[in-house]
């Protein structure tokens, strides 16, 4: 479920991080005045709890696949959407830093996938609708169950979109969706059961925690939320377009441009990669050192297959190793010297 740095393009990563930062800033603004000495440690504990539970994989029967808790829904139920979103964001940051789970560039994607859809979509639209008439064990169970499943479905669909927009894998949209959604339906049911069990227990043992969230001021007014959703959608769409232009092999785009312009080969069609290629050709040190084409895949293929390319690769790694050896030699000398003194 966690998006990895290696699977995204900078445009998608950047757009999603901007969106996540926007939602986080909004959440901070919302809860700042509500934070008391009870709420702060509770957020920390819930963060630690979700962190630990994401470490436990449960297997999905008859598929050979396994999943783990997302936890976004649980955070929203016990802390409210704003504090829940911020807590999710901090859990994901710790995971990115300490485990390389996800990654710093994919951080925004993960925060949106696991935090936004649960706290700001499934929670207000499903959970709150069901529990509006008052809390009861039955309502808490079904509300948690349905909203957890829905939240995870939206999250996994968002993973599919982000992966495709980044253009780092060749997975066709249809097969990717058919792979992701059913498996996350199964994971979602397990997540829903666990979320419901924990929420029901907390409601029985400490009803004030749930009631506090239900009556809390943290729900905020709807209009800002709407504005924010629009902003988010805009960021996603813009990010998608940018990355489409920026992706190294814009098949459909090139094809359609070729049809329109009458030529298959276009000089720079914009985007980060073509900009880079332009700078490259202007600043090339050796005149015949490739990069006359704007298509990156051709040049890398050239570099990857030609003898000089392979030799160059080996030389680069050799050079790196030499630098490494030099550093460790100097380091050793220093430690020996400091021991002698």
């Amino acid at each position: 479920m966690h998006m990895a740095d290696a699977l995204i393009s900078p445009a998608v990563g950047g757009a999603m991080t901007a969106a996540a930062a926007g939602v986080a800033a909004y959440s901070v603004k919302k809860i700042k005045n509500d934070l008391d000495d009870k709420a702060v440690p509770m957020m920390g504990v819930m963060g630690a709890f979700v962190f630990a539970s994401q470490m436990i994989n449960f297997s999905i029967p008859a598929t050979g696949s396994s999943g783990h808790l997302g936890g976004g829904m649980l955070l929203a139920i016990l802390l409210g959407p704003h504090a829940g979103f911020l807590t999710m964001a901090s859990v994901l940051l710790i995971q990115a830093l300490f485990f390389g789970d996800g990654g710093l560039l994919a951080y925004g994607c993960n925060v949106i996938n696991l935090g936004f859809f649960t706290c700001f979509t499934a929670y207000p639209l499903i959970y709150r609708r069901i529990t509006r008439k008052g809390l009861s064990s039955g309502r808490i169970f079904w509300a948690s169950m349905i909203s957890a499943v829905a939240g995870l479905q939206m999250g996994s669909f968002s993973v599919v979109l982000e992966t495709l927009l980044s253009g780092r894998t060749e997975l066709p949209f249809k097969s990717f969706v058919l792979l992701m959604q059913p498996i996350h339906l199964a994971i979602g049911v397990v997540e829903g059961l666990i979320t419901a069990a924990v929420a029901a227990f907390v409601w029985k043992a400490r009803p004030e925690i749930l009631e506090r969230v239900e009556t809390g001021k943290t729900m905020g007014d709807v209009s800002i939320k709407k504005v924010l959703s629009v902003l988010l959608a805009a960021a996603v769409i813009i990010g998608g377009f940018v990355s489409w232009f920026a992706s190294s092999n814009p098949d459909g785009l090139e094809w359609s441009i070729g049809r329109i312009a009458g030529t298959a080969e276009l000089e720079a069609s914009g985007g980060v990669h073509n900009f880079m290629a332009n700078v490259q050709s202007k600043t090339a040190i050796l005149p015949d050192y490739g990069f006359n084409t704007t298509d990156e895949s051709e040049t890398s293929e050239y570099a990857g297959t030609s003898v000089s390319g392979i030799a160059g690769g080996a030389m680069t790694l050799g050079l790196a190793a030499l630098i490494g050896l030099a550093i460790s030699a100097v380091k050793k000398k220093k430690t020996v010297r400091s021991r002698q003194h």
Binding site: L86, F98, F201, S300, I310
Partner: protein, 258 residues
């Protein structure tokens, strides 16, 4: 369960490494954080069939690992734990694309580089100082406080979990693990116990003057050496991104021989 224990060890290890005192550790956390982000952006910006251009980027993690005296074997071990997830998605590339093996290799290299970059950031800086860097970069205090507390409470929670498991096993000696029927209340109990303890910990932190802000007497100011670190690495990343260094070296070699 063993996975939680293992990840606790891993967190402790990375946290301990961050307490070393090398030239890299002394660099301002904000400079390291920004350098890492610059590195990630350049690595990820390569196209899907790129392999040779990525090779020079090995230099950054290697130099940092050596200068900061990090245990390379431990870092690679963590890397191996992550890789299966990436393989899972990347392995499908060869099925859908005749050149899929190239893009698969590219994804593998990228994930290796990006994950290593994150791990060396945290093992040369530590979470407390990263939090401090975030404050320097104007990230809201509420979020940073939340980040520190979550991190600290992870060990609190696992301690509580270990205590509860011990109690459970002593009352049900012949049973393996917690019964499914008891799971709900077990987990709920864990949550309540931990939150009570966390509340006490937080109260005593506040009594000792903690307010989530960092008060430093100027020693955490950014020095020219930090700026130099950031700029020189960023320059290297940009040059390596624009020029295919291996291709350049290969051509050079061809000329010398020919």
């Amino acid at each position: 369960m063993s996975k939680i224990v293992e990840s606790m060890y891993s967190i402790r290890m990375l946290d301990d490494l961050a307490r070393k005192d090398t030239a890299i550790h002394k660099i301002h956390p904000a400079a390291k954080l920004l350098t890492t982000i610059a590195y990630l952006i350049t690595v990820v910006s390569f196209g899907r069939y790129e392999i040779s251009g990525l090779l020079p980027f090995v230099l950054y993690p290697m130099v940092i690992i050596l200068l900061a005296e990090l245990p390379a074997a431990q870092i690679f071990k963590r890397l191996l734990i992550i890789e299966p997830l990436i393989i899972g998605i990347g392995i499908l590339n060869p099925l859908f694309d005749p050149r899929g093996w190239i893009s698969f290799a590219s994804i593998m290299i990228k994930s290796g580089l990006t994950v290593t970059a994150c791990l060396i950031l945290v093992s040369t800086t530590g979470l407390d100082k990263i939090a401090q860097a975030l404050r320097t970069l104007r990230v809201p205090g509420v979020f940073v406080l939340q980040l520190i507390l979550t991190f600290r409470y992870i060990s609190l929670l696992t301690e509580e979990l270990a205590r509860m498991l011990r109690a459970y096993v002593m009352r049900a000696p012949l049973r393996k693990g917690v019964r499914l029927k008891d799971c709900g209340s077990f987990v709920g109990q864990l949550l309540l116990r931990t939150s009570d303890r966390a509340q006490r910990v937080y109260d005593s932190m506040k009594l000792r003057g903690f307010d989530g802000e960092y008060h430093s007497n100027g020693e955490s100011r950014i020095a020219w050496r930090d700026v130099l670190f950031l700029i020189s690495w960023s320059l290297f990343f940009i040059i390596a991104r624009i020029h295919d260094i291996p291709a350049f070296l290969g051509l050079l070699l061809e000329r010398v021989i020919g």
